[in-house]
């Protein structure tokens, strides 16, 4: 939960009377809606580190690629997908 996942900004929507910037960010094959409120200068095409739905830092493409691959290797990308499918199935429940 504490790690941040890098993705690429595909598009930006203005919401709440144009006061809030939300982006569609692509992580591997998955697209998520992400708040850009903490990164006022992030733009379409930029790579950003995203933590629980909020972009917290810009990263360069190479860094983004490396980090994504590493997270994939250590199995830390599960939270991106439909989380309900990822619930640990406990015996008897």
């Amino acid at each position: 939960m504490c790690l941040a996942i890098p993705g690429k900004i595909k598009s930006i929507d203005l919401q709440y009377n144009n006061s809030v910037r939300m982006a569609k960010v692509v992580f591997g094959g998955i697209t998520k809606e992400v708040s850009l409120e903490m990164l006022p200068d992030a733009d379409i095409g930029d790579y950003v580190l995203v933590h629980v739905g909020v972009a917290i830092s810009k990263v360069d493409e190479e860094e983004a690629y490396k980090t994504f691959k590493y997270l994939e290797e250590i199995g830390e990308l599960g939270e991106l997908e439909d989380v309900e499918d990822y619930l640990p199935k406990k015996e008897g429940l």
Binding site: M1, E37, G53, S57, E62, I74, P88
Partner: protein, 364 residues
């Protein structure tokens, strides 16, 4: 992409290990604060490769592990007894409360939803005006901006059925508490990179100079960690005690000031109870009076007493770095990830789970 494997390159790792070995002249204990770093250290076998003079101590760096039993009980109580849809991050689900976990409560029919982001909970509140939606807001400084932002979004939307059960824990006060604990002996710290992405480095200067400990802000990939260890060891050998930044490609000196602004719009600092450790002064965030109507603690005035930990679980000693997971008599016996007795066995970032899954040296 010529650097693609740079942070996991075995040759580079070997080089760093040799440099560390050449630099060390006496035993040192270094605490990595972040659970992601513990995971990486154990999974990549770094612990076994380090010179024997270096002992890595695993810190309290998993917010899921340190969320107090009473808060988990309170979340379960809300989901079971009130007209509430309780939303949470997936990691929280299997953490045992004093009687059951959120997962068991869900299996019994409680309205519990697992989300990727607190912002999704605000949407759920908009779609369910006749229900109360509560987000169980755990996390360190990294997660606080997202949790605070959910309150701001709900406020902007004029929603009156959204609130958060805030359970934030702050890293620097925990590091200070660990330094001050007579039983723990720590010579230097790897500080948590993603926490510093938000808060910057300044919070660590007084800690480093007052207690004479090197603090190196460090990433979580294997080479980051080896570099961080080398930087700490160099300082220790030179009797230098400063804050250095190994993770400068992500962490700026001042942190993310927009995120800090959002945090302090919604939260104020308060004393916090850490599971297995106890109360640490000024180590948590509470929702400010201004946003009291979004504070589940105030909205549902339920008091639940702090229940004792499972009597056989030594999670407090594990999280302060006094004992290693395999020194717990129940490790891998009564306590396994499929049936955790304590929180460090639940989340994959907990020290007990990291050892259970990856440490080849441990028989389970």
């Amino acid at each position: 992409m010529k650097h693609m494997n740079e942070y996991r390159d075995p040759e580079l790792a070997k080089l760093y290990l040799e440099k560390i070995a050449k630099t060390v002249t006496q035993p040192w204990s270094i605490m990595e604060v972040c659970g992601g770093q513990t995971h990486s250290l154990v999974k990549n076998g770094i612990i076994d490769m380090l010179p024997k003079d270096i002992t890595m101590i695993h810190g309290p760096g998993c917010p899921v592990c340190v969320t107090s039993l009473s808060l988990i009980d309170k979340a379960i109580h809300l989901a079971v007894n009130e007209n509430v849809i309780l939303c949470s991050f997936g990691d929280m689900l299997r953490v045992p409360g004093s009687k059951i976990s959120l997962l068991e409560a869900k299996a019994k029919g409680a309205a519990i939803r697992i989300l990727y982001s607190p912002l999704e909970a605000v949407k759920i509140a908009g779609d369910n005006p006749d229900r109360e939606v509560v987000f169980f807001a755990v996390g360190f400084e990294t997660t606080a901006p997202a949790n605070a932002l959910s309150v701001i979004h709900a406020h902007r939307k004029g929603l009156s059925n959204y609130s958060i059960l805030a359970s934030h824990v702050l890293v620097p006060p925990a590091m200070e508490a660990v330094i001050n604990d007579k039983e723990s002996k720590i010579d230097g710290f790897l500080a948590a990179g993603h926490v510093c992405t938000i808060m910057g480095n300044a919070e660590y200067y007084p800690l480093s100079s007052q207690y004479k400990v090197p603090i190196v802000v460090t990433g979580f990939e294997p080479i980051d960690i080896l570099q961080g260890i080398l930087m700490v060891v160099r300082q220790l050998e030179q009797k230098k005690y400063v804050v250095e930044n190994q993770y400068a490609r992500i962490v700026r000196e001042e942190g993310n000031t927009a995120a800090q602004k959002v945090i302090f719009e919604v939260f104020e600092i308060k004393d916090q109870t850490w599971r297995g450790i106890g109360t640490i002064p000024k180590s948590g965030y509470a929702v400010k009076e201004k946003y009291a109507s979004y504070d589940a603690n105030k909205k549902f005035s339920i008091t639940i007493d702090e229940a004792p930990e499972h009597p056989e679980c030594i999670s407090g000693e594990i999280m302060k770095g006094i004992k290693k997971p395999f020194e717990c008599p129940q490790f891998g016996k009564k306590c396994k990830p499929s049936f955790p007795l304590g929180a460090p066995m639940v989340s994959s970032e907990g020290a007990c789970a990291a050892y259970f899954h990856f440490s080849g040296s441990v028989e389970v």
